[in-house]
């Protein structure tokens, strides 16, 4: 697929500090790409640079192969769905959606037809004459999306568009947005700090931290194969275990973990080397008897949280170390607090992290 948006070594400095630092990224045509990160990580600034509201301090942005250095926002083939919707309060829903087409001097009959079509698409066919204030949050959200997509943009930029909605509506809108994107085949660049939202919707996730890209990959890669400690920690829950390599046994390196040992697949590690690994709680098993496999850590039940379909355990494995375990509720016996247990996982399910 061809590249739709290209960021070439883009940086943005506010005062003396970098909001975005040396970001390079190729976004393919028709891709649903999510910029994910905590607040202040530079994801919104990156989006605003693509929209043209901010000018990069250095580096260039290309849209459809065209360099955007001196192109004003109103000349770019992108449209934005704003976090606060920013629907014009003095215009009706119809006029809000028609605004972009009017600016492009599209014929009146065509405007009418296209606006009515998107109104139907976002299930607001009868709401054209209302003012934005007379709509619920979810309806305003749909108008904001309609106002952007009616222009047939090459790229749609979405800045935390679901942030103001309640959980249930948000889940529903996530799926609707995803369907809409597949239907229209528009490139979506979506900004969110909600990792679950990112995993649900995206073709590709770019995790950002402190103005830089930590990792870019499919939701599967980001979740299962986090490359850095930040990504492992930010996406979902995980156990991060750090320790020195004590010995190399066959194909595995042993890592000291308190007074016990865990193993990771060996990859030219040296004895004495300090390393960090991530193990997801759902990859870890809980037993009442010592296990035969490579890893079997002895511990005690410190905390148990029952959340319906799942049970979350915190196991104290000694020396102040804890291991989070998550199992489906039907799989586990009811263990009392302070019961002696053994936790185990397949070493191949742990991921070695870059610092």
């Amino acid at each position: 697929m061809e590249t739709m948006v290209q960021l070439d070594n883009v940086s943005k400095k506010f005062d003396e500090s970098y909001a975005v630092e040396n970001v390079s990224l190729n976004i393919k045509s028709g891709e649903f790409l999510t910029l994910l990160g905590p607040s202040g990580c530079g994801k919104t600034t990156t989006l605003r640079m693509i929209a043209g509201f901010e000018k990069p301090t250095s580096g260039s942005i290309y849209i459809n192969g065209k360099k955007m250095d001196n192109i004003e926002p109103y000349h770019r083939e992108v449209n934005t769905v704003f976090q606060s919707y920013s629907l014009f309060p003095h215009m009706t829903v119809f006029d809000n959606i028609a605004f972009g087409l009017k600016m492009k001097k599209v014929k009146k009959e065509e405007i009418e037809e296209r606006v009515n079509k998107v109104l139907k698409m976002v299930q607001l066919a009868d709401f054209g004459k209302r003012k934005p204030k007379q709509l619920s949050g979810g309806q305003q959200q749909r108008v904001a999306i309609a106002r952007a997509i009616v222009n047939n943009p090459s790229v749609l930029l979405l800045d935390e568009p679901l942030g103001a909605l309640d959980l249930k509506l948000r889940k529903q809108m996530q799926l609707e947005l995803k369907h809409l994107q597949q239907e229209l085949n528009i490139t979506f660049i979506y900004v969110t700090h909600d990792q679950e939202e990112a995993l649900t919707m995206s073709d590709r996730i770019v995790v950002m931290n402190a103005g830089k890209i930590e990792q870019a990959g499919t939701p599967y890669e980001i979740y299962e194969k986090p490359q850095t400690r930040f990504v492992a920690d930010f996406i979902g829950e995980t156990n991060i275990i750090g320790g020195n390599v004590t010995e190399i046994k066959e194909n595995y390196a042993a890592l000291e973990f308190g007074s016990q040992e865990v193993y990771v697949p060996n990859n030219n590690y040296q004895t004495g080397e300090k390393m960090f690994i991530s193990v997801r709680p759902e990859k870890i098993h809980l037993h009442t008897v010592q296990q035969e496999g490579k890893i079997s850590l002895k511990g005690r039940v410190k905390e148990k949280v029952y959340i319906g379909s799942l049970v979350k355990w915190i196991i104290d494995v000694g020396n102040g170390n804890e291991v989070k375990v998550q199992q489906s509720a039907s799989d586990v016996e009811d263990l009392a607090l302070d019961t002696e247990v053994f936790v185990s996982w397949n070493p191949d399910n742990s991921v070695v992290l870059k610092q």
């Binding site: 929209a51 043209g52 509201f53 004003e72 926002p73 109103y74 000349h75 992108v78 449209n79 934005t80 704003f82 606060s84 920013s86 629907l87 014009f88 309060p89 003095h90 215009m91 006029d95 605004f99 972009g100 600016m103 492009k104 106002r147 222009n151």
Partner: protein, 283 residues
């Protein structure tokens, strides 16, 4: 709910009593006087008469009334034209904002009367402007700037400009910048963004500015008194003279009531024309 309304009234009561005593009752009193019979030298005979209104509608007073409305209208328009860019600039002036606002308000600390004397020094035949223009050789004889409608308009614009700047500034300041970004995002150039988004969304400020400039401007009398030496008249002068010099309270009251009705009427027409659906002319 009932209790809330009761509470609201009890909290409002000081201002309601104030308004009743010093606004409503005097206005009713003026209205009553305007229909009484004049017995000369400020005498009031409580006998119904429309004499005062007949006089007020005579060509002389009617002309002054229209003239006052015309000048104030022109001054209001000029104030708007000057104030809008000014207010826009202040709202975007960053750290200078507070200083600029203070400068707008400084004139309020001095009486308009005193400030108008300054304009006499600037405008008169041997004044600063004429002297300067003559020294520069642009004119050979002094322009008679004083005693003209020009001087009246200058006085009005000067006196009431802050009333126009402040509400417009407030509305521009409150305008959410994301509306402007949304507009640009949808393909509107800065000029179109201004016309279709900024202007309509700051319209309440413009409306407030127009009303609080126009209303006091139409009834002011010190401007004509000082800058035309009483040669040109606004309705404020006529009302003042009717009460204080001619001692004809009926005529003064009738003119006041007429002025009030005219001002209210023009505001109502203006708001009707510019609010709600009809504001579409901006889009």
């Amino acid at each position: 709910m009932d209790r809330m309304i009761k509470n609201a009234y009890s909290m409002l009561s000081p201002s309601l009593i104030w308004l009743l005593l010093f606004l409503v009752i005097p206005v009713i009193y003026i209205g009553v006087i305007s229909f009484t019979t004049n017995t000369g030298f400020g005498g009031i005979l409580y006998e119904f008469s429309t004499e005062a209104y007949t006089a007020a509608f005579s060509s002389l007073y009617a002309k002054v009334l229209w003239q006052s409305l015309g000048w104030s209208l022109l001054a209001t328009v000029l104030c708007l034209v000057i104030a809008y860019p000014f207010a826009y600039y202040i709202a975007h002036a960053g750290k200078w904002k507070n200083l600029l606002l203070l400068l707008v308000m400084v004139p309020f600390w001095t009486n308009l009367l005193i400030r108008l004397y300054a304009w006499i020094i600037l405008l008169n035949n041997h004044g600063v402007i004429n002297n300067l223009l003559m020294k520069l050789g642009i004119i050979s004889e002094p322009l008679s700037l004083m005693y003209s409608p020009f001087a009246v308009i200058i006085g009005l614009v000067y006196g009431f400009l802050p009333f126009m700047i402040l509400p417009i500034y407030a509305s521009i300041e409150q305008l959410d910048r994301s509306y402007l970004e949304a507009s640009e995002d949808l393909g509107a150039s800065p000029v179109k963004t201004f016309l279709y988004v900024t202007l309509p969304l700051t319209f309440p400020g413009i409306l407030a500015g127009i009303i609080i400039t126009f209303v006091p401007a139409v009834s002011v009398f010190v401007v004509t008194d000082l800058l035309t030496g009483g040669k040109l008249l606004m309705v404020g002068n006529v009302i003042k003279d009717a009460f204080l010099i001619e001692m004809n309270w009926q005529l003064g009251s009738a003119l006041s009531i007429l002025l009030m009705v005219l001002v209210l009427l023009s505001i109502v027409i203006f708001m009707k024309f510019t609010s709600g659906k009809d504001r579409k002319f901006l889009i």
